[in-house]
Amino acid sequence: MSDTTTTAGQPLLQLRGVSKHFGPVQALTDIDLDVPHGQITALCGDNGAGKSVLVRTISGIHQPDRGQMLWEGHPVHIHSPREASRLGIETVYQDLALADNLDIVQNMFLGRERLRRGLLDEDDMERTAAQTLSDLRVTTVRSIRQPVGSLSGGQRQSVAVAKAVMWHSKLVILDEPTAALGVVQTGMVLALIRRLRDSGLAVIVISHNLNDVFAIADRIAVLYLGHMVVQASVSDLDRQRVVEYMTTGTAGRNGQEAGLAPAERSQP
């Protein structure tokens, strides 16, 4: 499930000076971002800050106009979601992209079905899917063969995440994983995300919900109008300052924290 052999100290994914514009709109300007192994990086920002564009750039839907992406230290150009998958980048979008009429196994293998003598190898796929779910301790679904449409919101999110990590992925990107969930189910999904981190994966979580961010993130990166305004370990930030970064692009109105952001940017 995870390749934990990390090159010491080197982040799994590094973005350097990545910019992207759509017509006259500058969506991303000079973005630097480090995504280390075995850590949860929360990507915060107000609506229109560029979170989605950034994530879509990493997962191959958009190509950057300028800048460089380094994957395990090597420069890469990701031209399609398929290429991103091949590198080990999987993205779970907010709509989860599950087919309600298919069961859990069928959804987890959708588009990558295993065959035996030309026919679907259901036994093999069911075993693998069950193993992945049990590794992630997603154990309260009644049957792995029940249609996804009959699952609760948290269970659906879990299946989408399990689907993403089943393919030897190294980086999992989650777009607002708790947006539609109640308290209990949110707790369940957050626990699942922690387990991904603990198994050595790099995780990027987009979230508006600062409670969730502070509950799980190791690092927080804040986007403001297409600029990366701060990137720091969660212990160096507090809720108040993250909100200020998200809404004004700077923090420390009192002056006491002026100049903190550039300093933090250097330390992953």
């Binding site: 087919a99 009429n101 069928q106 069950a130 154990t139 449409g149 209990v184």
Partner: protein, 455 residues
């Protein structure tokens, strides 16, 4: 693994904080039992039957409503038909013959209904394929061997479907309009081809030659009783053995599988249907002389049914058809070639319709301009939906076309026995369709309501 499928009441509880910890089994079981196929959670036949009843009460469809409908049709018509002839062997064979065309057209329609699309053209595309075959085989025109004629006729249907599918997928035209246009064009093409040759627009299969005889026999030829029994025995044994081996292998390796008693029940049902079918067909059904044996069209329909069941349930193509019907965006993101799969579904729909057209022409012993293609199309859609296939895409099986076709044939046959003419047949079939769509619609609303409540 085991806790994934066990009854939650007996399953080991998950560690706190893990999985969906706060969600107790009691929370989900009441609603979940409604939308999970009972065989997934039942560990014994008793469990299975209980889950079944709950689902039935909740209006969740499947093949049950249509089988219940068939039973009702049988009982009612048997009781009120003059001389109680509805369930007599010769009438049942007749009923099967009347249903055959709708069964095959229903199976055809399912390919596109699964995508959430519709094909309104098959009622005329089917006879177009048949008329091409007949014209090629007629000794006075091309005089081809029957198999070449059939191959070209079916190929023409497949190309027709591919053309419609291409217009729908590549040019993003609505399937409703494209296939409605296809219906009209096919009607014209049929009239065109009918007039070729010295048949005054009525090419018949009653002419001389083995090739015409072959086409005539598709519906009317019979298989020797001894051969039928042996073939049926082998088929039931093969299917039964396959089912048993698969289920017991899955049970042994801890995969989701029905209890052994249920597997046996399924095999027993298949055997019962096989024995009943061959038994009914073995009775002499002629007023004078002797006509008995299984008509050819029954194995033809079984082959089509078996092939499409395997294609839809056991291959990537089938899986992708369901995925596109369930969530096209998810299918696209999973890297599925959505446009190609959809075009193929329209192609297979028309190809299957072509097989139906051959049966239709064989039963009428030829073709004339007296083809009611518009009505046949609507009956095909009705057969699929009555059988349990959803109009909204993503849910349905090939067997639904066969069962729905039987319902339509049963109503037609019963009305005829009662001396009620076609106006009553239309009215009754219309109401049966309305009930079926309501069941589909209500169960769908129930299912989505359930998952919204979970969120």
């Amino acid at each position: 693994m085991t806790e994934l499928r066990n009854d939650p009441a007996t399953a080991p509880r998950v560690e706190p904080g893990a999985g969906i910890a706060g969600e107790t089994p009691q929370d989900i079981s009441a609603e979940a039992v409604l939308d999970i196929p009972p065989e997934l959670v039942a560990q014994s036949l008793g469990d299975y039957l209980r889950a079944w009843l709950v689902r039935l009460r909740s209006g969740e469809s499947g093949v049950l409503p249509v089988i219940a409908g068939l039973v009702v049709i049988s009982v009612v018509f048997e009781l009120i038909s003059p001389g109680r002839v509805f369930l007599s062997a010769d009438n049942l064979v007749n009923l099967l013959q009347q249903s055959a065309f709708y069964m095959v057209l229903g199976m055809a329609e399912i390919f596109v209904l699964l995508l959430g699309e519709i094909d309104l053209s098959i009622g005329f595309v089917a006879p177009v394929g048949a008329i091409i075959t007949i014209q090629l085989v007629e000794p006075q025109t091309a005089n081809w061997p029957w198999y070449l004629g059939i191959a070209v006729g079916l190929l023409a249907c497949a190309l027709w479907g591919a053309a419609q599918g291409t217009l729908i997928t590549r040019f993003r035209l609505p399937s409703f309009i494209v296939t409605l246009a296809g219906l009209l064009v096919a009607n014209g093409v049929l009239l065109f081809i009918l007039l070729i040759g010295p048949f005054s627009g009525y090419p018949s299969l009653n002419g001389p030659g083995d090739n015409l005889r072959m086409l005539h026999n598709l519906m009317n030829g019979t298989i020797d009783a001894a051969v039928s029994w042996v073939a049926m025995g082998l088929l039931v044994a093969g299917v039964g053995l396959g089912l048993w081996l698969r289920d017991s292998r899955r049970r042994a390796s801890g995969l989701v599988a029905p209890p052994a008693s249920l597997t046996l029940l399924k095999i027993a049902l298949i055997a019962a249907v096989g024995i009943a079918l061959v038994g009914i067909c073995s009775v002499n059904r002629a007023a004078f002389g002797n006509v008995s044996g299984v008509p050819w069209f029954i194995p033809i329909i079984l082959v089509v049914l078996g092939a499409w069941m395997i294609l839809l349930q056991r291959t990537r193509f089938g899986r992708y058809v369901y995925a596109i019907g369930g969530n096209p965006e998810a299918a696209r993101r999973a890297g599925i070639p959505v446009a190609r799969i959809r075009t193929w579904a329209f192609t297979l729909c028309s190809l299957t319709a072509g097989i139906g057209g051959l049966l239709y022409a064989s039963r009428l012993d030829g073709l004339s301009n007296n083809v009611n293609g518009g009505q046949d199309t609507l009956y095909a859609v009705a057969a699929a939906v009555i059988g349990g296939t959803s109009l909204f895409g993503g849910r349905g099986k090939a067997i639904h076309g066969v069962l729905g076709g039987l319902v339509i044939g049963g109503i037609y046959n019963g009305m005829f026995l009662l001396g009620l003419d076609v106006k009553w047949e239309f009215i009754v079939t219309g109401f049966v369709l309305l009930v079926s769509v309501s069941i589909d619609s209500l169960s769908r609303r129930g299912a989505s309501g359930g998952s919204v409540a979970h969120v």
